[in-house]
């Protein structure tokens, strides 16, 4: 028989340590908050930067919402209309595309630096897990947004992505093996990727995911403010700067600079130009899949291994990685920052190599 009182007590203790309500006031959350100054201080900017790109996504996304039409006959043409006819439409669309890549990039950097700085230990477990889920939501944003222009590449890529989900079924036992297929058909909405899929992805991309992300981001930010900045390095920092207003102003300065950069890039370099696909060709049910079909760059780190290795290896590996990410606060509780830094660097190296040289590696092993 479980001792109910003790269980209740440890639960309340757990919650009150993670959410110290006594700190829920202006003085400790705003006036007192300080940011340590040390060699890893730059890591404290990555989260804010990710959030800034999310804000850009929200604003540019709202702009695009005025013209985009989520139907199979009009989706592609409405995107084309935005790019060609609407004043500033190409710029807004480019910013949305560039900023999505930047958001994913900085979310990954933020995860790695937070890992290396051991910012996940007690009492920050909730912050970490919320952050990991936020990263997955961000990837889902990328996946759902990719389909919306309804071009040949996007539709086929989505087919592949959804079919991969179903593929998992063959490794599951008994009744469970049907679950991935049911999941895929739920998201797909009909026998093939079509109007129902577009409508569902649209709903996910513009309503459900943003709401989810905003809610989780609220939790993430609240716990960051409650617990303050983590120490980040082994030696406690000797110098600190006030969060309000020194750090905030530095943050804003960085955001302004980054915005200028993004604006210029979006103005001069169309996002299509770095991915040499016929992005504007609309989907044609009677057309072949275009040659050289690839997902967006931020899926390369799982896409190329998927091409090279058996499916089950990737399945096992990604399950393990996701498990480790979620359980990080408990698995790496006692690991030194030096070791964590090494693991993070190795992971970063893997990500960079797979993203930049993935294609060459693939060619090397396949031919």
């Amino acid at each position: 028989m479980i001792d109910l009182d003790r269980a209740t007590h440890s639960l309340t203790q757990f919650v009150s340590e993670r959410f110290p309500v006594e700190k829920l006031n202006f003085h400790s959350m705003v006036e007192k908050k300080e940011v340590p100054i040390h060699s890893m201080s730059w890591g404290y900017y990555t989260g804010g930067l990710t959030m800034f790109f999310f804000m850009i996504q929200v604003v540019t996304g709202l702009f695009l919402l005025f013209y985009y039409q989520p139907t199979v006959s009009d989706a592609n043409i409405s995107v084309e209309y935005i790019s060609l006819h609407v004043a500033g439409g190409a710029l807004i669309r480019n910013m949305h595309a560039w900023s999505s890549s930047c958001m994913i990039f900085f979310a990954m950097v933020h995860l790695l630096t937070a890992f290396a700085m051991k910012s996940f230990v007690k009492p920050r477990e909730i912050t970490w897990i919320a952050g990991v889920i936020l990263l997955f939501i961000t990837f889902t944003f990328g996946f759902t947004g990719y389909l919306l222009p309804w071009n040949q590449i996007a539709v086929n890529a989505t087919k592949v992505g959804l079919q991969s989900v179903e593929y998992v079924g063959q490794y599951l036992p008994g009744q469970l093996s049907e679950v991935p297929r049911i999941l895929r058909e739920t998201f797909q909405g009909e026998s093939s990727v079509g109007q129902s899929t577009l409508g569902r992805f649209y709903a996910l991309h513009v309503v459900i995911l943003p709401l989810l992300l905003a809610a989780l981001l609220g939790l993430h930010l609240l716990s960051v403010q409650l617990h303050g900045m983590s120490q980040g390095v082994d030696q406690p920092a000797k110098k600190f700067e006030k969060f309000i207003s020194i750090f905030l102003f530095k943050d804003l300065t960085l955001w302004a600079t980054v915005f200028l950069g993004l604006f210029v890039v979006a103005m001069c370099v169309p996002f299509d130009s770095i991915l040499p696909y016929p992005l504007l060709a609309p989907f044609n049910a009677l057309g072949a899949t275009p040659q050289g079909i690839k997902p967006e760059w931020y899926f390369f780190f799982v896409y190329y291994p998927l091409e090279l290795l058996p499916f089950w290896v990737i399945l096992v590996a990604s399950t393990v990685v996701v498990g480790i990410l979620i359980l990080t606060p408990w698995i790496f509780k006692g690991t030194s920052r030096r070791t964590l830094g090494f693991i993070a660097s190795a992971a970063a190296a893997y990500l960079v190599i797979m993203t930049v040289f993935g294609e060459q590696i693939y060619e090397f092993f396949k031919h």
Partner: protein, 438 residues
């Protein structure tokens, strides 16, 4: 006669008196060679009066001097309409600024009790003269527009004729009364320079621009330290205000620009007739293809046979795409036996649409993850990520009367044959009952 007096005699007299009088005053009473500071008697009115006045008059005088000294250059400048308009409007603006400054300075002299003590009659005369002169100048800017352009044919040659001692009144004798009064005013003004505070204009304090700011204060020790702190605080406040004003103005300009563009985004494009037509045609064609797709779906619900194409149209190397009963893509080839060969085009790996071009080994390629499928056996190549073969589809060949000539079920069993005479007209169909078994 009166013209000669006002435009020849008066100028020479004024210049003579102005130059020698000033030199004389500088020699005999050097300490008076500046205007008497009244800042510590009254500072607020001084700031709002003196600054606009001096800023305005300096620029305006500079323009007068340039137009006189370099008439060619000036003329080439104002011959551009945009420059002319800019010069005129800036000039008018500055002269209004001068007027306002002068009025404030005048009121200050007349109303402040402290200032009355240090105000001479000559100070009031100077202010009156200046008011008159600037007022005339402003009136000219309004009534006799483009003075900066027409001066090069009138007043500039007149002034040069004076300088070269060949006075020629004819350049100005026909000018409007306003302009004439302005010229006379200018000579009077030069005439009174040595007798008034105006001499300070020869002691232009250029170094003031570069030295740290100074403030005239009472030399009462207690008040001194209090005043000093106040001064420091004021200086910090001024810094802040300047920065704030700059940022606010920049932000204002930026927001105007941004607003304009944001608004035009939401306002939407207004296309020309041709573009609009093109766009509508494109929209219609996309809609039609969607309609086609929907019709296909409906057809698959309702009918038992779906047309793939004419038997004669099929080719052994270049497949024809069609949609099967499950709304999945499939490809029709002509087999070696001259009969149709229908194979699913949905890759057994992850569902991409397989290509329809047969390579030399008789295979079709799925480009997503590079699987080659043999079209006869349906089997993928050994290294392919796809493991299962592409299934074949059954078919039915009917003549144009709807009579079944031959059929093949999904298992590959063929019955019947096609008469070579009917080859041209016979059509290939897929049928629902065969699909069920596939």
């Amino acid at each position: 006669m009166i013209d000669s007096l006002l435009f020849v005699a008066l100028p020479y007299l004024a210049i003579f008196v102005g130059v020698f009088g000033s030199i004389y005053r500088m020699r005999t009473a050097p300490m008076t060679y500046s205007s008497l500071s009244s800042q510590f008697l009254e500072s607020k009115g001084l700031m709002w009066g003196s600054l606009p006045w001096h800023i305005g008059i300096t620029v305006i005088l500079l323009a007068h001097v340039i137009a006189f000294l370099a008439p060619g250059f000036w003329q080439s400048l104002v011959s551009h309409q945009a420059v002319l308009q800019a010069v005129e409007s800036i000039g008018l603006g500055l002269s209004i600024l001068c007027l306002l400054g002068l009025i404030i300075l005048g009121l200050r002299r007349l109303t402040s009790a402290k200032l009355q003590a240090v105000t001479s009659v000559m100070d009031l005369v100077v202010i009156l003269l200046l008011l008159l002169q600037v007022g005339l100048g402003t009136a000219i800017a309004v009534h006799c527009k483009w003075g900066s352009a027409w001066c090069s044919g009138t007043t500039t040659p007149y002034l040069w004729s004076l300088v070269t001692f060949q006075p020629d009144v004819s350049h100005v004798s026909d000018l409007p009364l306003l302009v004439k009064a302005h010229i006379v005013g200018a000579w009077l003004f030069i005439l009174v320079i040595p007798f008034s505070r105006l001499v300070h204009m020869f002691a232009v304090p250029v170094e003031y621009l570069f030295r740290p700011p100074q403030n005239v204060v009472w030399t009462n020790p207690r008040k001194f330290s209090a005043d000093n702190q106040h001064f420091v605080r004021e200086e910090a406040r001024r810094h802040f205000m300047r920065a704030f004003a700059g940022i606010a103005f920049g932000g204002f300009l930026l927001s105007i620009g941004t607003f304009r563009n944001v608004f035009s985004f939401f306002f939407g494009p207004r296309l020309g007739r041709e573009e609009e037509t093109e766009l509508m045609e494109l929209r219609l064609s996309r809609l039609e293809s969607t309609v086609g797709q929907r019709k296909l779906e409906l057809e698959r619900q309702a009918s038992n046979y779906i047309l793939v194409g004419k038997l004669a149209e099929l080719s052994p190397a270049n497949g024809k795409y069609f949609i099967d009963f499950k709304m999945q893509p499939a490809i029709a080839f002509k087999g070696k036996d001259e009969l149709p060969l229908l194979i699913s085009a949905k890759c057994t790996h992850l569902g991409c649409t397989v290509g329809n071009q047969v390579d030399q080994q008789g295979r079709i390629l799925c480009p997503c993850h590079v699987s080659y499928f043999d079209i006869v056996s349906g089997e993928p190549n050994a290294e392919a990520p796809a493991k299962a073969p592409l299934p074949h589809l059954g078919w039915v060949i009917m003549d144009d009367g709807g009579k079944v000539l031959a059929r093949r079920d999904a298992g590959g069993k063929t019955t019947g044959a096609v008469d070579p005479k009917l080859r041209e007209t016979a059509c290939v169909y897929i049928s629902k009952d065969q699909e069920g078994k596939a």
